[in-house]
Symmetry: C2
Subunit: 166 residues, 2 copies
DNA sequence: TCGACCCGGTTGACACATCAACCAGACGAG
DNA sequence: CTCGTCTGGTTGATGTGTCAACCGGGTCGA
């Protein structure tokens, strides 16, 4: 309620920066994703899961932790894991503990080892190197601030009232 | 082939910046989208179409131009337009020219006029103001460079050879 | 004039995300 | 003990995006 008053829409500079940002996002994302899909038959989502699993102890995690790491909703996680299981990239494995663990298969391991270096190279080529170290650091800081601001706003907006619909 | 050689994966600083950037994206996007959905029943895609139409001459455009403006595939456009038509936000209208025109309805106009100011205010609050003018300008420039780099790379990668699969 | 292609647009099948409902074990209060 | 509730996880319905195939009117060369 304290931010409205500069006019109903963004002014030209604001607009321009915002649109540049959006365009960069879309371009980067579609480029990376298309490459991943065409060369390796993996989606961005597959990649995210495989990265997390391959970095984990013994290549195994609970679905819950995967959810925390990726910020996905649990139902999305469940659906996607069943699809990946069907394709042989992961396996759900019952263990002595309460809940089953998600395990990366040899095939999954091979897939990510095959594509990770190229992904990294692309990130460098199109993002890291274009920004350069100073701008990169700036962006990182600003990004964290944005996230922080939104976090604060959201928890402000709905303090633990009875409403579960936050 | 000239970028590989710094190691197969990103180093710590690169990694950190990249992840901050990704997180900012996801946070911003889900926040904005959720707000739009809950308060106004519009998706980001609906919004994009309505913005373009409402800025156009007479609130009407060819689907083709919408496609150019939004960078969507034609099939996605077609599907989404039929859905929006069913909801009464737009109308497809045959005219004397070759192809039908997409027209924004009164209802669509009302919807976007209702939500646009709040969208703008949120963009200011969480993006423009957090970055501040200098960093915003930097980001805009860097973003354009990224887009430019990818463009060059892609047209380089597949010059107008016979392959239509670019 | 005829056929080959191009181009804007539609369609159908399928992959994916989201939402709400459900399930089962754990846990705490009575 | 048992009833309510919480939590991690699954399921099904539905909305959305993508791919490939198709359609119909133009255009161009033979």
């Amino acid at each position: 309620m304290d931010d409205v008053g500069k006019g109903p829409w963004l002014d030209d500079d604001e607009q321009k920066a915002w649109r540049s940002y959006l365009l960069m996002n879309k371009t980067l994302e579609t480029h990376m994703e298309r490459h991943l899909q065409r060369e390796f038959g993996l989606s961005k989502s597959d990649f995210e899961i495989l990265v997390n699993l391959s970095e984990a102890e013994n290549g195994r995690m609970r679905a819950f932790e995967l959810g925390r790491a990726t910020q996905w909703e649990k139902s999305r996680m469940s659906h996607h894991l069943t699809r990946m299981e069907k394709r042989g990239l992961i396996r759900r494995e019952a263990c002595q503990a309460r809940y089953p663990e998600v395990v990366i298969t040899a095939e999954g391991q091979a897939a990510i080892e095959a594509c990770a270096p190229q992904q990294a190279a692309r990130i460098r080529e199109f993002f890291v190197d274009v920004f350069g170290p100073e701008r990169l650091a700036e962006l990182g800081k600003a990004g964290d601030e944005v996230v922080e601001t939104i976090r604060r706003h959201e928890e402000n907006d709905c303090p633990p009232e009875v409403r579960g619909t936050c």
